[in-house]
Symmetry: C2
């Protein structure tokens, strides 16, 4: 490991991190375990979904994978952070070592930053269960999925905007960077790893709003046809809303 | 005005605020102007809405007032903050004086706090125009309002949760309070003035989700009736989705 001037490798270099101990496991091992857990969870979800709803479309399978992935990350990986943030710097569990590695790109995860605790707390207790609820609706073919999907996508987009935004403004106005400057940490960990939460929720938000609006219009069309038919036959269908 | 130990009345007392000058107008005058502007905008919106859609329901008129109020506050009052935050402490315009008064309950508004700039930037450029779009949909009877209403309510709820939450965590972990301790500032300005953004979006979110889900189910009912009719007559209606 590279030698650092402070007693820890995080930025800003003068940030205080008590009881820090470097990771003991190689990164490849950590990523191998993490990737395997995710692959097993996604694989099991897909098998279950196809058994419950054999005609589930490919796009819906991909959407399911997204919400299951988010549900796992929010409830368990980020849940671990929220429950153990104070002990992270010295801990050597799988999740703690992964957080210490990621925190090289954002030290707020290792300093109990109030904004991070707040946004992650909401993520764990609201967004995590919501992602799982959406996945369940999706497998069951329940249309409640669409309004819930809109809710979740706004949550993800707002969250990632604030995540990137607070860093930008803090750097711009106070010159503080929470990320190590190396390409790997800034561009790969910080910028790229969070970018799917810009792209996917944008697509799913548009799909959710469009599907919802389509149904409202289709319902209005059907209602006006039925009203005209009712007029022809001298009866009037009950107004639905 | 009360005498303060620092050269400004804000908390925490050691926070640095350059070029601060106390408000020159009495609070009653500031509130009178602000209240009048809001009353004129809401009154004009209601008159216009009733002219365009004479049968608009009372609940929808109240919802309209909410989104017009939010649209005005986000685009103009908070827009003023985003554009002029650096000059606020020394400025004596109506909006600057109102912000200086409000900042007694949250000094982050007078210190160019990165989180505040970030969340207010999103509020001004995304949520403000969205509130106005929802108000327009509402007056026109366009059902696009419902998915947009869900989006906006999540935005408001997430925003206010982070607004309260960051303060709570900063006080809890670092002992910093951004609010003066007096009842007026903490409980009236900080706690109460923001509380409508907990209550109203919660109600409108539930209404939005419920209405959307109802329409999906009603559409499904109508579709299955039509499919059965089609079977009886030996034709099958085209599948909508």
């Amino acid at each position: 490991m590279e030698a650092y001037s402070a007693n820890h490798p995080y930025y800003p270099q003068d940030v205080e991190i008590a009881k820090y101990s470097p990771n003991v496991s190689p990164l490849a091992v950590l990523l191998g375990w993490f990737g395997s857990i995710i692959a097993i969870i996604l694989g099991a979800s897909l098998v279950l979904a196809r058994r419950i709803r054999p005609r589930i479309q490919v796009f819906e399978q991909l959407t399911l994978c997204w919400f299951v992935l988010c549900g796992f990350l929010h409830c368990f990986f980020e849940g671990y952070f929220v429950l153990n943030h104070a002990e992270l710097p010295g801990s050597q569990s799988l999740f703690a070592q992964l957080w210490k590695e990621y925190a090289l790109s954002d030290s707020r995860y290792i300093t109990s930053d109030p904004f991070m605790l707040c946004i992650e707390g909401i993520t764990v207790f609201i967004w995590g269960p919501l992602c799982i609820a959406i996945a369940v609706c999706l497998v069951r073919g329940n249309d409640l999925r669409y309004p819930l999907q809109i809710v979740m996508c706004v949550g993800h987009l707002y969250g990632v905007a604030l995540y990137y935004g607070t860093c930008y403004f803090e750097y711009h106005y106070h010159g503080n960077s929470h990320s190590r400057p190396e390409f790997l940490y800034y561009w790969v960990y910080y910028a790229s790893f969070n970018f799917p939460w810009v792209v996917v929720p944008s697509l799913l938000l548009v799909q959710g709003i469009r599907t919802t609006w389509d149904i409202f219009r289709a319902f209005e069309d059907v209602r006006s046809v039925l009203l005209r038919l009712g007029d022809l036959h001298g009866t009037e269908p009950k107004k639905e809303r």
